[in-house]
Amino acid sequence: MKVKMLSRNPDDYVRETKLDLQRVPRNYDPALHPFEVPREYVRALNATKLERVFAKPFLASLDGHRDGVNCLAKHPKSLSTVLSGACDGEVKIWNLTTRKCTRTIQAHEGFVRGICTRFCGTSFFTVGDDKTVKQWKMDGPGYGEEEEPLHTILGKTVYTGIDHHWKDAAFATCGQQVDIWDEQRTSPVCSMTWGFDSISSVKFNPIETFLLGSCASDRNIVLYDMRQATPLKKVILDMRTNTICWNPMEAFIFTAANEDYNLYTFDMRALDTPVMVHLDHVSAVLDVDYSPTGKEFVSASFDKSVRIFPVDKSQSREVYHTKRMQHVICVKWTSDSKYIMCGSDEMNIRLWKANASEKLVAEPSPGPYREHLHHKTLERV
């Protein structure tokens, strides 16, 4: 007879010394792993519950403005700098790591309607209710110098928004019509309009940099081509759009924040139906900004909340709200895709985590010197 018994050599299964890793042989046969679906269900349920347990998204509140915050702008080269414009004409530059205001400028008389930074990060532009466009230096004034704009442009009508080109020395303002300006000139290079109503915001496309989109009071969104100096396409919605934001990863996708409590994601090539309708807000959506990954965006609404939506879903994955935060006017997602800043009309800018349960600061492991400093008061040494 031929016989062989299953006999395992323990040397192949047990580690030799305590310093070795344990050996874990694997066999992926489904017969050895029964109840895959219910176990995975239980794991997913527990993971979701724990994610909610560890969700502590609020980081800081930047205090200092004396009127509601109207607009925010990110510094293109520095992750810790943010600029904000308030309803009393003040522009403040904040340092997010120290959470303090580094510079205050009385930029306009009346609202600061729009603020945008130049792509190189050396200067920024503001527009206000006093019909001016001002360009300021990003570094503060030197010793003995006064706070003066680099350049002031006086216009005939109130400008309601401004956005800078992502690569060239050009910027666009909107008010009665969309004007494209060259930085060296005091009159617009070209003016484009389609319709007879005022335009509330304008945004350049970060990838196809000659494209702009604007939102007007007669409920339309118009796309312009800067090279031909003409409007390209128009889509009319049921209610007015407050702002649009272009997807930084997909050149033809933009999301519009609408007054009918929804956000609409459009594909520029086919504007007749939106790609997705995002539904969760309960009051007008005032601002929208994309994450640098292009997979999610954040929206600020009149209903005192900030919601984060995935691009392909119609429901939000997260909502941030506080008793202290009133109507949220503007929101930005930082360029490292980790933080969200929102400015509300109770004069505060709040800093939140984009992923509420994410651990952002690694626990410092005590090095050889600090090991004996167990006492809490000594840790500050």
């Binding site: 016989v3 299953l6 006999s7 042989p25 029964p34 219910p38 794991r43």
Partner: protein, 620 residues
Amino acid sequence: MEMVPKPRSHAPAKKDRLRAKRKKPRRYWEQESGASPGPPPKKRSSRPARPRSSQVLRRSRISRKAQVPKPERRKPEQTLSGAQDPFPGPAPAPLEVSRKFRRIDKSKPLPSPKSKTRSRLEAAEAEEEEASVRAARSELLLAEQPGFLEGEDGEDTAKILQADIVEAVDIASAAKHFDLNLRQFGPYRLNYSRTGRHLALGGRRGHVAALDWVTKQLMCEINVMEAVRDIQFLHSEALLAVAQNRWLYIYDNQGIELHCVRRCDRVTRLEFLPFHFLLATASETGFLTYLDVSVGKIVAALNARAGRLSVMAQNPYNAVIHLGHSNGTVSLWSPAVKEPLAKILCHRGGIRAVAVDSTGTYMATSGLDHQLKIFDLRGTYQPLSARTLPQGAGHLAFSQRGLLVAGMGDVVSIWKGPGKASPPSLEQPYLTHRLSGHVHGLQFCPFEDVLGVGHSGGITSMLVPGAAEPNFDGLENNPYRSRKQRQEWEVKALLEKVPAELICLDPRALAEVDVISLEQRKKERIERLGYDPDAKATFQPKLKQKGRSSTASLVKRRRKVLDKEHRDKVRQSLEEQEQQQQQQQQQEKTKPPGTRPSALDRFVPQGDPWGINWCLCLLS
């Protein structure tokens, strides 16, 4: 740098044909005759042939599409040392093995072509195919081979004695065969722990012991001073459940009594559901009780309504408990449902033993009618094969690789199937053994080729080559785990504990696409909002001036509207009833399908489309 021409296994491109004219320099590892290691150049491997680069170029010219220049990938044969891969291409993946890893049931139809779900399901199916091929390829890494026993020249393996096997086998395996002669404390029942390292034995007269049978180290040995009817390890070797004469007791593996569960009285059989942490007990009072050992609560106490329960088996695939009854039926129970999930009529007399194999495909039952039958559990519940035994089998058990053992009196017979996935063929037994007492308990040891038999003379550990799964998964049950690994595994198992409500006949039921009905959606909406937004608000009469809003007139107005609504409702329901009646009449009047059309059909009365009958009545 001079490039050395290599013999290629696929059709050479034009560039290589030029290069092949140069002679290859001989390397030191090649023999004097000049034979090089590796396959001869013309041999075609089993993998799909790579497209020739020249062919690709020609195609692109015809189609005139803009070709995105692909990055030049370094060909695997061009290594700096000049060594060749003797087995080029990916490892072979046998098709039958990859079928084992497929989980999606392709017989279910996909939803409508336009829905997003369909595209997602199709993508999931394609991914699963690829993953199953890769998993099949990874089977090459499994280290152990299963055991086997083959007779030479038509020798009947059933006649081979255990002593012969012990002589023929290596020392370590020979040590796995032992007999414990324990005649003093009555017939023994035994249970192996989930990893197969530890053995618990319980004698009828109160002897309870737990030991590591591989190293023969005794963990504890006590006498509980009461009759012991069944014994079972809980999730690990740390805890034992003993069904004593009156109640259920839980002991530590050091023999310390931890719990006395008085709600489970006169228990005859115990089964532990490892992934749900449930201990199922069948009692003489006819109750099947589920005890959650992680929280210590009785999850369900089901009245089986069939008298004394003494035959119980667990289906390891879906955690359903099979109970055998004296009227020849086997009923299937889940703690979530008060009634049995299914009842199968198996035998003419009472059921004596039930066993289910580890994949949940086959159920073996034996009855008082001396029959041993194997049923198909996935699908038809029909008997696949049957065999008459000279003496009825009182105990049955399946091994991990599908071997079936039956204990008939003091003889134990083992049947084997042709492969791992097919049922055991009951024609000829694979092995038999005679014991020194009548069999009272049978279990195959999980990852060893060993069968443990508890009988009236003690415990015997038999060698059964080919019974066990040779390659275990270290993260599920690892017989060589250390204390730290056991602790980690226990915590993870508790975190993944499946709730008892999810036990049903198909464990993959949660993975189905949830098609929620409209009524269910409405109900959920009402629950969420607190009221029904679609319900019509009750009529509130408008308050009028000049005395028209007195109580009496308000009541009158309200009554008027309610009466009108009631009349409308009644009229609608009457109309619906009439329509239903008409439909029924029409259905009755349609001809039966077998009849052929004939010329006289026009005279068959089919209702009254023109009122002809009425006209005839008028005329007459």
